[in-house]
């Protein structure tokens, strides 16, 4: 077995270095104001706060589970802010930053991990599909949705684009590879946004792929690009270009956002069993938020008051998340029978009414001090 393909250094699109220096890239010119960069900084800080609050809430027993986005904020905010209102995103389960950009309230995400809902928001209204846990499934949905966009004649000038999020592990699934092929064959207006965070639970990238992920696209017949996933500006520029390509009828692009899962896979996971702390230190130096702050400071585009204000806002967001989460009521037991079918279903109706009687029998017994 040869290692050459895997070890050839691929190009990494970067516009903002870890030290906070802005770079130019001929293919990805970025016309962006200081105000927009400050807004991105705010997004990054606030979603990190939502995320860390969620981790604590899980520790306190308020959530069943949480999948942290720590380290992946730039990939998600950069790509999320590249989306237009009418575009449609198909997330996996870790896209809290993209959700934020699509206007999903953090409490909607928390509800799912708390176990009070399996979805919550209206995907059409938000341009953000439900979280999808079964790895890779959503890549096909995004592709089919994009084929629908095509048939609606909504491709062309000012067209609509679709984006699908997934991880490095997901590139192994049949569904994901089928999605690449369907998108290619149909020239569908879809962007495949892979957050390569180097790990799929305990399995490092080498267990999934022998070539850099973005190169897969070539075999399917569309472009692939690797972007620094910890660089919010590069993620914004590269995703915007890919979405514009899609919306104008030039077909799919695979964007590999090269990043790192700084935390555990989920709150259930213990990464000390399978990875080195040294790796984490290496990536801490490439932190997605720190570099934006450095850039703003180095160039005098934000003062101390700005950063303090953002931190205070983060505190408020954190507090809101805590209160909203704790006060989220459990659904009523009979909710189990809701929305199983579009049309009335005698079978479900019967089980619902039998179960209602059953539950009521306890209340009656309780009133009589029984059972």
């Amino acid at each position: 077995m040869s290692d050459t393909a895997a070890h050839e250094e691929p190009e990494l699109i970067q516009l903002l270095t870890p030290e906070g220096e802005l770079k130019e890239h001929p293919d990805y010119p970025l016309d962006i104001s200081a105000e927009e960069i400050r807004a991105l900084y705010r997004d990054l800080v606030l979603v990190r706060r939502v995320d860390s609050e969620a981790v604590s809430l899980q520790r306190q027993g308020e959530l069943g589970l949480w999948a942290s986005l720590l380290g992946q904020e730039a990939a998600q905010i950069g790509s999320g802010r590249a989306l237009r209102d009418k575009d449609m995103a198909f997330p996996s389960y870790r896209e809290h930053g993209v959700a934020w950009c699509r206007g999903i309230e953090p409490k909607e995400l928390l509800g799912m991990f708390r176990g009070v809902t399996n979805g919550g928001w209206d995907p059409h209204e938000q341009g953000f599909h439900l979280y999808t846990i079964v790895i890779g499934s959503q890549t096909l949905h995004a592709t089919g949705y994009a084929m629908g966009v095509q048939r609606d004649g909504a491709v062309g000038e000012d067209g609509t684009a679709v984006i699908s999020y997934f991880g490095d592990g997901a590139t192994s699934q049949g569904d994901t590879n089928e999605a690449f092929n369907f998108a290619s064959v149909n020239n569908a207006p879809v962007v495949f946004f892979c957050q390569n965070n180097q790990w799929a639970i305990s399995e490092p990238l080498e267990r999934q792929a022998r070539v850099p992920i973005y190169r897969r696209a070539a075999g399917f017949g569309f472009p692939g690009v690797r972007v620094d996933g910890n660089d919010v500006l590069a993620c914004l520029a590269v995703t915007r270009a890919a979405l514009d390509n899609a919306r104008s009828g030039n077909g799919p692009t695979l964007v590999e956002a090269f990043t790192y899962r700084m935390g555990a896979h989920t709150t259930n996971d213990d990464p000390t069993r399978y990875r080195d702390a040294a790796e984490l230190d290496e990536w801490k130096a490439k932190d997605p938020i720190l570099r934006v702050r450095r850039y703003l400071e180095l160039n005098g585009l934000a003062d101390e008051a700005f950063f303090t204000a953002i931190d205070e806002e983060a505190d408020k967001v954190g507090e809101r998340v805590r209160t909203e989460c704790r006060s989220m009521p459990d659904p009523e037991p009979l909710d189990i029978f809701h929305e199983v079918y579009a049309e009335p279903n005698v079978h479900i109706d019967r089980q619902r009414s039998e179960f209602a009687d059953y539950l009521a029998s306890f209340e009656d017994a309780g009133a009589e001090g029984g059972r």
């Binding site: 799912m112 009070v116 846990i133 890779g136 399995e203 659904p331 189990i336 079978h347």
Partner: protein
């Protein structure tokens, strides 16, 4: 001589014994290597048997089962782990169209000594797709053997029996019971212990037979204890394909009543099949219709509702009461 083991550790010990016994036994799946599986059921095997025999696969269930079929064709005995019940489905094609039919298609020239371990069932407060009970799909498929364990002793021995089987075995592990502990007689021999196909009378009784498997066996035993008005016999059916009707029918003929409890949804669930068969074969002995206590015919709900969705002690007792209402 016995060792005190949890169900999870007993399966681990059984896997280890099978791997020591036969170098053709392999373990494959997502995170089964270094991590030892998300439930640690394969803990330590990667370290002791190496990466050739304990394979961290790419994240692709169809790939896992499809390549395990290939390994079996080459003379290996793969034990694949599907990380959670809800993630079996990408492997459905390989399982139903290939694995289950290979022996028959090849007129017996090809064997499929493959074991598919699946942590299954609810009750752990998980997010979607982590609490499914898909056993009816397997039971419905000719060519597959389907078993489920309910205690450490069975866990230790049944995994080894499954691995020795030349037929594919779907091995269902009740994930919410992984940490249940008991003495395991590891000194017995595979020949001595209860055969893989046999049901087990977990508690003797005279008035009603209560049948369960996997995670519901514990609940059934609790129900039998709790019902001080009746003497309830509990059967741990253990094998869902084939089903041991000799044991079940003999019990029902003695008690005259049968209540079946499972976490799988009611309609088309294993209980439906067993009820139909027992009704045919024990009709004149039955004092009441066969009663099923199962999950509702809805998708598994958000976890905050699972206590209502899963048949619990009260629902099982209610089922028993219904049987005595006739």
């Amino acid at each position: 001589m016995g060792t005190n083991l949890t169900i999870g550790k007993a399966i681990n010990a059984g896997l280890r014994a099978a791997m020591e016994h036969d170098p053709k036994v392999l373990v494959m799946g997502e995170d089964v290597g270094r991590l030892g599986g998300v439930f640690r059921v394969t803990d330590g095997l990667h370290k002791d048997f190496g990466a050739d025999r304990v394979i961290d696969t790419p994240l692709a269930e169809s790939g896992i089962v499809g390549t395990a079929i290939g390994m079996a064709l080459r003379g290996y005995r793969p034990v694949v782990e599907i990380q959670f019940d809800g993630f079996f489905f990408p492997a459905a094609n390989q399982t139903f169209t290939q694995l289950a039919k290979m022996r028959r298609r090849s007129a017996g020239k090809l064997s499929m000594p493959l074991v598919m371990r699946i942590p299954y069932g609810g009750g752990i407060g998980a997010v979607e797709h982590h609490s499914e009970s898909p056993e009816a799909y397997f039971q419905h498929t000719a060519g597959l053997r389907v078993v489920s364990v309910a205690n450490p002793e069975d866990a230790y021995w049944m995994i080894q029996q499954a691995i020795r089987s030349d037929d594919p075995v779907i091995f269902l592990e009740p994930k919410r019971r992984y940490y249940e502990k008991a003495e395991v007689d590891t000194e017995a021999s595979l020949q001595e212990v209860t055969p893989l196909n046999s049901a087990r009378i977990a508690r003797s009784g005279t008035d009603c037979t209560l049948l369960a498997y996997g995670p519901m066996v514990k609940t059934a035993l609790q129900a039998a204890e709790a019902d001080t008005d009746h003497s309830i016999e509990v059967i741990d059916v253990r094998s869902l394909s084939p089903v041991d009707y000799d044991t079940i029918n003999a019990s029902v003929k003695r008690t005259g009543r049968l209540v079946i409890a499972h976490e799988a949804t009611l309609t088309g669930g294993p209980g439906a099949e067993i009820a139909a068969r027992v009704t045919e074969e024990c009709f004149y002995h039955l004092e009441s219709p066969v009663i099923r206590v199962a999950a509702f015919d809805t998708p598994y709900p958000q976890s905050r509702l699972e206590e209502y969705y899963l048949p619990d002690l009260d629902r099982v007792l209610d089922g028993v009461d219904r049987a005595f209402a006739y």
